[in-house]
Amino acid sequence: MRLHEPADPYWDAFINRPPADLNNLITHAFDSMPRGDVHPVRGEVHSPNVMANHIKELGRFFGADRVGIVELAANPFGNAEPAFAVVCALRSEYDTRHALGIGGQAPALKALFVTFNLCAVIKEMGYRATSSSADRDRFAALAGVGRQGPDCHIAEIVCTDLPLTANLRDGGGAIASELQHRSGEPAEGNRGRGS
């Protein structure tokens, strides 16, 4: 449902006017916040195909409209375990790249809620998880969840070593290199932003 009505004289500023203080934009204020670490005991998980379905359902529960999973050829955590990228897409009414107002960034805010909580749950299950904005468009295309635009917002990619199944496999080099760049070493689930 399009909530904008022509009679609303404040809607355009709500969507398009950049905030005077960036800290009033929650997504910006959240950027510098530390993320939690990984539970020291790995919990029992269902089989990878079941777990993949559960992760998709969990993503939708947190607010995503479409969730896809891509297997990464290169593990961004720097070990030999298989790693996966969970890609979430949310319906949007404005392109978050251009609508810079607090309202225009609402889909990014909802996406932050999805990725943060997906990462948090996976970490509390004892697996590593981190979010990255690198290569979002390419992963979204691979996962088949849509593409960033006026009607769709692609959330940060959740990278995890939780055993999942994916239909597609990708290099994942961009994500791995970005995470290494942030922390100065192979990304761990309990280090750096998004970990």
Partner: protein
């Protein structure tokens, strides 16, 4: 010489003396009939529990308990690492300043429509705007997003002064999922309830910062959210002590309200027939496992006439069940108003509200009969969500996920394969233990009033 301790005078609203503020209109279910002493946030449940005034078990529960369930560790105060708890992280973020360039507002009604639209755009299921009143405010400090003290905004002044400076309150409730709420007293119900709480805090924070961007003040933690919801026409107060909303019944989360000087046109309280329904129904009182809900009529407490619940006994259940689930929610789930937001529910509510007050008891009895006939006294629907199954007794090790081939450390699991899932469910059917603990069990440690 004995020195008498000086007791600071608590702020209070006296309808006879405070002529500037006539008694607030909170609808049919709640009436301010006498002097209301503004409740100090330190005297509310969470701070009392945190200080150990409600017993050691609750003290330990709130301070030292970590949820056994991974989801529970990410969406409640029972987190292992607070950095994995969204609300805790959100509270730590830097807050922006009020925009020095105020948005000019010529038409408060247009701004009210805009604020409601913006609230829904952020994710609220309804938005209520009420007129601030001294009787609605806390005295002293402020509440934070966990229902505890030590947060909120540092706005100073008496309730009267605050209401003069910031004449409006905004509430932005988010409803939790009906299907998942059927599995209350279970991790599934916990997930629905606690995640909704996080969403409510997110919406409130987004609204608070947007109002600051408009150039106006937005204060959190100063207003009783239930009173604000009544004033803002979000719902009515039920016998269960919960706000019963028009579309979602009692399955809404309020958390907090925003006090603001943004020029708005406040709503009026609404009449959903809750006053008439609660007089007759008593379903929540019958099913409450701790007998915390009264069977009696309303009473006047602190100058306010309403149904008074015994929150102490309600809270005391929590540490006893903490290994299996977190929040009870029986009263919210069994409430006949708590139904999916579909046409027949709307029809029932509209039928009741369109009936003259004198004739409503008959309609209520008919609706109650239908509710008992089709939904029963308790929620008995078995809910499966992710790997959870509300049909499995808390603590019993069993996996009923279709297609799961994992061993789960269960010797019986070794015999499983993807094909014999149905057989497994039958095998475990003797363990179906929905709705535990039963009220009879709980009666052992709580006294019936």
């Amino acid at each position: 010489m004995a020195i008498e301790p000086v007791t600071p005078t608590r702020a209070a609203y006296d309808p006879a003396a405070d002529t500037e503020f006539p008694p607030p209109d909170l609808g049919r279910t709640v009436h301010v009939v006498g002097t209301v002493v503004n409740v100090d946030p330190e005297d509310t449940p969470h701070p009392k529990v945190r200080r150990g005034e409600v017993g050691k078990a609750l003290f330990n529960y709130l301070r030292n308990t970590v949820a056994v369930d991974p989801l529970g560790r990410t969406n409640s105060t029972r987190a292992r690492d607070n950095r994995n708890y969204f609300t805790a992280v959100l509270r730590q973020t830097a807050t922006g300043a009020i925009n020095p360039t105020r948005t000019r507002i010529d038409d408060p009604a247009a701004m009210s429509r805009h604020i409601k639209r913006a609230g829904r755009y952020f994710g609220a299921d309804s938005v209520g705007i009420g007129r601030a009143h001294p009787a609605l405010l806390y005295g002293g400090g402020a509440m934070n997003d966990h229902g505890d003290t030590g947060g909120g905004d540092a706005a100073t002044g008496s309730p009267d002064e605050l209401c003069r400076r910031y004449p409006y309150v905004i509430v932005t409730p988010v409803a939790w999922d009906y299907g998942m709420a059927q599995a209350h007293r279970h991790h599934i119900g916990d997930a629905a309830y606690d995640t909704t709480l996080m969403q409510t805090v997110l919406v409130l924070t987004a609204m608070e910062r947007y109002i600051k961007e408009l150039g106006y003040t937005a204060i959190r933690g100063k207003v009783n959210p239930q009173a604000a919801a009544l004033a803002g026409g979000v719902g009515e107060l039920g016998r269960n002590g919960l706000i019963i909303s028009e579309k979602f019944g009692a399955r809404i989360h309020l958390n907090d309200a925003i006090l603001t000087d943004l020029p708005l046109a406040p709503d009026k309280p609404i009449d959903l027939g809750v006053e008439d329904f609660c007089k007759i129904c008593r379903k929540c009182a019958e099913t409450c496992p701790t007998n915390s809900i009264t069977f009696e009529d309303k009473q006047v407490f602190n100058g306010v006439e309403k149904y008074k619940i015994k929150w102490e006994t309600c809270y005391k259940l929590r540490p006893l069940v903490a290994d299996h689930w977190n929040v009870c929610l029986t009263c919210a789930t069994v409430c006949p108003y708590t139904k999916p937001n579909v046409w027949w529910r709307t029809l029932a509510v509209r039928t009741l509200t369109a009936t003259p007050t004198a004739a409503r008891p008959g309609v209520v009895r008919a609706l109650k009969w239908i509710d008992d006939r089709f939904w029963g006294k308790f929620a008995t629907k078995r809910v499966r969500w992710l790997g959870y199954d509300s049909g499995i007794k808390p603590g019993v090790k069993a996996c009923t996920v279709a297609g799961c081939t994992a061993q789960h450390g269960d010797p019986r699991g070794a015999q499983r394969s993807a094909g014999d899932t149905r057989q497994l469910i039958q095998l475990e059917s003797t363990n179906i233990g929905y709705y535990a603990p039963l009220k009879e069990n709980v009666n052992r440690f709580t006294k019936r009033s």
